[in-house]
C-alpha cells in the first residue's frame, strides 16, 4: 500500500509549492554534483590528461599488470569464502530459532564497525614475525604477513558481513514455507537447498557478491598493513595507486585509479540491475521493499 501511495501523483495537500520543490532539488543536485560526480569525473580526466598513449602505457606497465593480477586473485579467493559463509549463516539465522541469535547477528556485522587498519593489525599480531604464531610459521617457512595469504585474510575480514547481511533479511522475509513443502514432498535437504532455496535467494545472493567483490578489490587500509608494499609482488591495485601517487606519477596513479573507478561504475550498474530484477521477481508483494528497508537500515 505504501508503494501505491507513492506512485500516485501527490496532490497539493501533500506536496510543497513549485518554488520550494525546485530550490530543494537544486540544492540536493548541486551537493551531489560537487561531492560525488565531479570527483568521479576527475579520476578519468586526470588519467587521460596526457592522452591515450600514456594512459595505456601506464596500464600495461609490468608492475601495474602484477597488481591487477594480485587484486583478481585476492577477490577470487576471498569472495567465494564469504559467499559460502554468508549462505551458511543466513540458513542458520533465518531458518531456525535459537538462543543467542541476536548476538550472533551483531557479531557477524562487527567487521564493518572496525577500522580497516585495526583489521590489518590483528593479523600482524597473530602471524607477523613477532606475533603469536610468528616463530612457528618461520620454522616451517610459511609466509602469511607481507605475502598473499595475509592480503587474502585481511580482505576476507573486511568483506566478512556482505553476503550474510543481504541474505538474512531476505530469507527471513521469504519464510520457510516452500522449503517445508519440498521436504514434505520427499526432497532431501540438499535437493531442497539447490532447487528451492537457491533459486529464491539468487538475486539477493548476487547483490551481496557484487558488493563483496567491489570492497574486496578496492580495500586499502587493511591490506596496506599486511602487504609490506613489495613492488610487483604484494601490491594490489589500490596500493599501487598510492605508491605511484606518492612518487608524483599522477598519470600512472590515476590510470590505475580509473580501473577501480570503472569497477565501481560496473558495480553500481549491476547493483541497479539486480535491484530491478529482484522487484520484478516479487512484483505485487511487499517482500523486496521490506527487505530493502531492512538492508538499508543495516548498512
Amino acid at each position: 500500500m505504501a508503494l501505491a501511495t507513492n506512485q500516485t501523483e501527490r496532490t497539493a495537500a501533500t506536496t510543497e509549492s513549485v518554488v520550494v520543490r525546485y530550490v530543494l532539488t537544486g540544492f540536493a543536485l548541486v551537493f551531489l554534483t560537487l561531492f560525488l560526480f565531479v570527483p568521479l569525473v576527475s579520476v578519468f580526466w586526470e588519467a587521460l590528461a596526457k592522452g591515450w598513449d600514456l594512459y595505456l602505457a601506464a596500464l600495461t606497465d609490468p608492475e601495474a599488470v602484477n597488481a591487477i593480477k594480485l587484486t583478481l586473485i585476492t577477490a577470487l579467493i576471498a569472495v567465494p569464502l564469504n559467499l559460502v559463509f554468508g549462505v551458511a549463516a543466513a540458513w542458520a539465522i533465518a531458518r531456525f530459532e535459537f538462543r543467542g541469535k541476536a548476538l550472533l547477528t551483531t557479531l557477524i556485522d562487527l567487521p564493518f564497525s572496525i577500522s580497516p587498519v585495526v583489521a590489518g593489525l590483528i593479523y600482524v599480531l597473530l602471524f607477523g614475525a613477532q606475533g603469536w604464531l610468528g616463530p612457528w610459521l618461520a620454522e616451517h617457512d610459511i609466509k602469511i604477513i607481507f605475502a598473499i595469504p595475509g592480503i587474502v585474510l585481511a580482505t576476507v575480514f573486511v568483506t566478512f558481513p556482505f553476503v550474510a547481511r543481504e541474505l538474512i533479511p531476505l530469507m527471513q522475509a521469504q519464510g520457510a514455507d516452500e522449503e517445508q513443502a519440498a521436504l514434505v514432498l520427499g526432497a532431501s535437504g540438499w535437493q531442497t537447498f539447490w532447487r528451492v532455496t537457491l533459486p529464491n535467494i539468487k538475486w539477493g545472493l548476487l547483490y551481496g557478491v557484487i558488493l563483496c567483490n567491489a570492497r574486496a578489490m578496492g580495500e586499502f587500509g587493511a591490506v596496506s598493513v599486511v602487504s609490506g608494499h613489495i613492488r610487483g609482488q604484494t601490491n594490489t591495485v589500490p596500493l599501487h595507486v598510492e605508491i605511484l601517487y606518492n612518487e608524483y606519477n599522477f598519470i600512472g596513479a590515476f590510470a590505475c585509479a580509473s580501473l577501480l573507478a570503472g569497477l565501481a561504475l560496473v558495480t553500481l550498474a549491476l547493483k541497479t540491475f539486480v535491484e530491478w530484477r529482484a522487484t520484478q521477481q516479487h512484483k505485487g508483494d511487499a517482500v523486496p521493499l521490506e527487505a530493502r528497508a531492512r538492508l538499508a537500515s543495516a548498512h
Partner: protein
C-alpha cells in the same frame, strides 16, 4: 544442540549451518580480536595509559572524532535532503542520481582520496577558487572533513529513504485537513517519523568515519598534532616495530567501535519500541 535451545523445526542443516558460521566467525574475527586484546594486556594498565594518553594520541583522537562528527552532521543534513528529493520529487535523471548515491560504497577509498586531494589542492579544480578566498582544504583538517563526508554520504540517504517511502500520504492529508501548513506537517508529522532512521544513518556514518583511513591520508597532509588521524598513528607505530604501542591505540579504537555499535543497536531498539507503542 540443546546448548542453543533450538526450537523444533523440520528443516535440516541447523548443525552444519550454525557450526560453520561459528567456526568461520571465530577463525576470522573473534580469535584475531582476542589476540589483540591479550597483546595489549602485556602492557599493563600503567603502560597502556602512558601510551594512549600522550599528546599526539589525544590530538589524533580529538581530530578523528571531531572531523567525523562534523562530517556525519553534514551527511545528516544533506543526506536527508537528498533522500527527500529522491522520494518526493521527480526530475530528469533521477534513476541515475539514485544509483550514483552509492558511489562511495563502490569506489575504493584510495581512489576517492587521490581524486579529492587533486580537486582541492591549491591548483585543483576547486582549490584554485578557494585559495584566493583564504580557504585551504587540502592538507588541513577541513580536507579530512571533506573526505569523511564523501565516504559517509550513502549511509543517511539509504536509511532515511525507505522510511520516507513508506510514510503514508493519508497522515499528511489528515494534517492538512486539520489546518496545518507544510512546515508544521514536516516538523510534527514527517520529521518525527524519520528521526530514528536519521539517527541510525548519522551514527553509521560517524562509526565509518572514525575508522576511515584510505580516503583521508592523501588529503590530510598528516602533520603530527594538526592533521594526523588515529589509524595513521597505528601504522606509524607498526613501521617503527612498536607493536605494543600500536596495539594499545588499536584497543582504544576498538572500544570506540563497540560504543558506536551499542549506540546503533540502542537507537534501533528505541525506534522499535516507539513504533510498537504507536
Amino acid at each position: 544442540m540443546n546448548l542453543f535451545n533450538k526450537k523444533h523445526s523440520v528443516l535440516p542443516g541447523f548443525g552444519l549451518g550454525l557450526g560453520y558460521t561459528l567456526f568461520w566467525l571465530c577463525l576470522i574475527v573473534l580469535l584475531p580480536l582476542l589476540a589483540l586484546v591479550l597483546k595489549s594486556s602485556e602492557l599493563g594498565w600503567q603502560g597502556f595509559w602512558e601510551t594512549v594518553s600522550t599528546d599526539r594520541v589525544i590530538a589524533s583522537l580529538k581530530l578523528s572524532f571531531g572531523a567525523s562528527l562534523v562530517a556525519a552532521l553534514i551527511n545528516a543534513l544533506f543526506g536527508f535532503l537528498v533522500a527527500w528529493v529522491l522520494v518526493r520529487y521527480s526530475f530528469p535523471g533521477k534513476r541515475f542520481v539514485d544509483a550514483l548515491v552509492d558511489l562511495p560504497f563502490a569506489l575504493p577509498t584510495a581512489v576517492a582520496g587521490i581524486a579529492l586531494t587533486t580537486l582541492y589542492a591549491p591548483n585543483g579544480w576547486f582549490g584554485q577558487y578557494l585559495e584566493p578566498l583564504g580557504i585551504k582544504v587540502a592538507f588541513t583538517p577541513i580536507g579530512i572533513m571533506v573526505a569523511l563526508t564523501f565516504i559517509g554520504l550513502p549511509f543517511v540517504v539509504r536509511t532515511v529513504q525507505p522510511v520516507l517511502q513508506d510514510l503514508e500520504a493519508e497522515l499528511e492529508e489528515a494534517a492538512t485537513c486539520l489546518g496545518a501548513n507544510r512546515w508544521q506537517i514536516f516538523q510534527r508529522v514527517i520529521f518525527p517519523a524519520t528521526l530514528p532512521a536519521l539517527l541510525t544513518g548519522f551514527t553509521l556514518a560517524l562509526a565509518r568515519a572514525t575508522g576511515e583511513f584510505g580516503s583521508v591520508i592523501f588529503i590530510a597532509g598528516n602533520i603530527p598534532m594538526v592533521s594526523e588521524i588515529t589509524p595513521l598513528l597505528i601504522i606509524g607505530k607498526l613501521e617503527q616495530y612498536d607493536y605494543l604501542g600500536a596495539t594499545a591505540i588499536a584497543v582504544v579504537m576498538l572500544m570506540i567501535s563497540f560504543v558506536m555499535l551499542l549506540l546503533i543497536n540502542g537507537i534501533q531498539w528505541w525506534a522499535g519500541r516507539r513504533h510498537g507503542i504507536r
